[in-house]
Amino acid sequence: MSPSVLRQLRIRFSGQRHLALEQGRQRLVLFMMIFVGIAAMLFIKLVDLTLIRPVQAKSKAVAVKRPLRADIVDHGGVVLATSLKVQSLAANPRLIKDPKVLAQKIVAIMPGLNEAAVLKHLTGGGRFVWVKRKITPHDVYALNALGEPGLLFMQEYERIYPNAMLAAHVLGYTDVDGEGIAGVEDFFNDQLVTKTPQPAALKLTLDSRVQHALEDEISKAVDQYKALGGFGIVMDVNTGAIMALASLPTLDPNTPESAGDQAHFNAVTKGVYELGSCFKAFAVAEAIDQGTTTPGKRYDATHPLHLAGFSINDFHAERRWMSTTDVFIHSSNIGTAQIADEFGTERQKEFLGRLGMLKAPSLEVAEVGKPIIPNPWGRLATMTVGYGHGLAVTPLQLASGMASLINGGYLVHPTLIDKPQEQNRERVISQATSDTMRALFRLAVTQGTGSHADVDGYRIGGKTGTAEKPKAGGYAHHALISTFASAFPMDAPRYVVIASLDEPQAAVATGGLVAAPIVHNVILRSAPALGVMKSTADVDVSALMPFVAHKKIKKRVAA
């Protein structure tokens, strides 16, 4: 090719090349625009995800927001249960680099922990595990100083019972998450759990001074007689307000898990017992009220009663004809069986039903027991129920029933919450019968089996009860529930006081011997707190005295 041809070519190529490059540039600009478009789509999607459809970040730890529980106080404002802010130790196992070393460090700070168990927590799955609930500020400080990012401190409220065991069975307790699972804590759980920062305290009718006296005296008696347990109650006879309620063995609600099964059992509200001779009060009261007997009517107690192959005998056998008054104060089974028999099955059922003895009692605790009703309820059952066997009720029902007999004859509903007295109270017996019952109870102490309860000036009246515990096929002769059911002051009754021991160990372990002294001491200690003054006045027993065969001038030891 000649140079000129080459030059021609070069010029042509140069032009084509220029055009081709120009086209390439245009297409590159197009590509750039496409790229910007793609980026714009990405932005739109990102904005859609992050701003238009965002989700709340899950808190690193499960939000543990325990509600604040309201305090529980007694009727004088003494704090019985309160809540304190505490820290709990949790962990996020995924953030822990060397769980083995960390477990050692944690156990070094809190020697009570098991290292293997801690290690198991720290190596567990998930992002949140509890290591130790409710730890001391000192431990929190030391653990925090480890600088381990996998450890979490959660704020909780710990339920504190500053008086430890006091009124444990009334208060109940909460689980580790702060939910009430027994007693008042359970019954009023919804009311106690509150969103307000300063919730109003729940006020109970309890008086912690009386409660302490009752628990202390029962506890001493349980120790003295090596009893399985004991229980007691102090109740306002007019309002049913419970001033004290004790059931032993008891527990410390701060550490309920460390107590045995028996200690979790509220004998007063949940336990049902054949309460024995205390029940004679109901047979006598109903018979007098219905006119089937009078305080002076006499019954043949010279020999045991035989019916349908059973025999009914007296514990303190007098072997004589006895007036109704003597039957009551000397606690004659034979006499009471005849009084009940005269009265009849249907009227007995109706009367006990009106007193609320045939259904579970109502009280503001989670634990209430259902009575065991005789089946069949025939003539024999009517007689045995008359003297307190064959019908098992809660001690709470005995207390409210007794209150009804002596408060002028009005039905009493037991309660732990201050309520105004009901306006139209339901009457169960007449005022006159109630007055007679006051005199009978007083006589049982001054002239009969309850003499150990008497305290000069407090006009105590009451009825002993010594019941054999049922066992397979009959009754256990040496396994007793020994009870003293009383009220004071008998001329104008204010409070029912009941104390009972479960299987006291003594040669003679009757209610009059082992339970009446408890009542004596409780009244001696708590009457000032309850506002009852000593007085020389007394209930008028003159109408009944003619029917008492063997009069004691001065009170003497009686069983």
Partner: protein, 400 residues
């Protein structure tokens, strides 16, 4: 004499005044940002690895390695940017067959990871030759396609497409569909820039799609493959779901560095799903800034090429930028579920030595190819190019 004086005739000084310093700054920023993201995203993976081997491993294990990769990568990138365009071309022409053979070798002696054989161990590091295949191939196809500017009748499309197809087939064998698609995209972009009629592109696309549809309904094997491609496996669905949750949790500002959860939940948090970790911990602002940085790098380099008169440089840069940009946006698109899961890394940010070095090579070549007198709009006068001696002046000044 100051070291970087313009009058200094030394090679470093000449490099400093000719290299695209804005682009270099943006790339260094990207590498730095990537280190931060690997720092927050890789701890859980180190812990998982330690657990699986019943050994202890520093939570910074992956970060420390990535730090080394980043330093080496930066040096490689700057080193490559020193090369002349002729050297870049020759280097890739020599490297391509070697890398191609290495990629084929992975099929036989590769390390099997997650069902794909893509890695071969080199000096204790598992290298992924296919990562290096892409930039070399892009440069070589650019060289082939540039011949068209000197001889319009040269069969440049056939030759370059043939070469690309060979690479694509090898990649499919691995199997690595994401890389296959990327390699084909790079070639298509270069061919279109080089003048491939758009009608042909449309026809080819339509024909290809029609062929796929026919194959889908007639060949069960193909249908199976396509189904697998369109609907990812359950583990991928899980990762995508968690990634989306991460963005939504992060919101505008994120939950804070190292406070995220997604990295504990998905295994690829430090590689393919690092964008989601960034989204959760640093929020929309960081994600948008990162995407903008990628866009800025691509647009800046592309804009530089609008003044380029050397077809090879023009086409090679376009190929390399398509590789960089498309890979970045595919990865981000997968993270926000705009695209099905592909197994593609986020350039300079995802953890990985091969990815870092290959990207350093890629962008190092972009820097090398875009070196010029920063005070002139066009090519350096008197430069020899394409076998034709022509004195080129600034295009725009000529237009005036």
């Amino acid at each position: 004499m100051t070291p970087f004086a313009r009058s200094n005739g030394g090679s470093v000084s000449r490099w400093f005044w000719t290299v695209d310093r804005l682009l270099l700054t943006m790339l260094m920023l990207l590498i730095a940002v990537g280190l931060v993201f690997v720092l927050v995203a890789s701890g859980p993976q180190a812990q998982r690895l330690a657990h699986s081997r019943h050994a202890t491993l520093s939570p910074l294990h992956f970060f420390n390695r990535q730090l080394v990769f980043a330093v080496v990568g930066t040096l490689v990138m700057i080193g490559v940017s020193f090369l002349s365009r002729i050297t870049v071309r020759r280097l890739c022409a020599v490297a391509l067959p070697i890398v191609l053979l290495a990629t084929i070798a992975t099929l036989f002696l590769g390390v099997d990871t997650k069902g794909a054989t893509r890695w071969i161990p080199v000096f204790g590091i598992d290298l992924q030759p296919s990562e290096f295949l892409k930039p070399c191939l892009a440069v070589v196809t650019a060289w082939i396609l540039a011949a068209r500017y000197d001889d319009p009748n040269a069969p440049v499309y056939t030759v370059s497409f043939g070469l690309t197809t060979i690479v694509a087939i090898i990649l499919i064998k691995q199997p690595d569909f994401g890389q296959t698609a990327l390699v084909l995209t790079i070639w298509l972009a270069q061919a279109v820039i080089a003048g491939l009629p758009l009608a042909t592109v449309g026809l080819a696309a339509g024909g290809g799609f029609a062929g796929l549809v026919i194959a889908y309904f007639t060949v069960p094997h193909v249908a199976h493959r396509i189904n697998g491609f369109l609907s990812p496996s359950s583990t991928d669905t899980y990762q995508v779901t968690k990634a989306l949750e991460a963005f939504r949790t992060g919101g505008l500002m994120g939950v804070g560095p190292a406070e995220g959860e997604v990295k504990w939940l998905i295994p690829d948090a430090h590689t393919d799903y690092i964008f989601a970790v960034a989204g959760e911990e640093f929020g929309l602002l960081a994600c948008a800034a990162l995407a903008l940085l990628y866009l800025a790098i691509v647009l800046r380099s592309a804009k530089q090429q609008l003044d380029e008169d050397d077809p090879f440089v023009f086409l090679a840069t376009v190929g390399l930028l398509v590789q960089f940009g498309v890979q970045a946006f595919i990865n981000m698109g997968v993270n926000v579920a705009l695209l099905p899961s592909k197994g593609m890394t986020l350039p300079f940010v995802s953890y990985g030595g091969s990815s870092m070095l290959a990207m350093a090579l890629t962008m190092g070549m972009v820097l090398a190819l875009s070196r010029r007198n920063r005070f002139m709009r066009g090519r350096i006068a008197g430069h020899k190019s394409g076998g034709i001696n022509a004195v080129r002046v600034d295009r725009r000044s000529m237009d005036r």
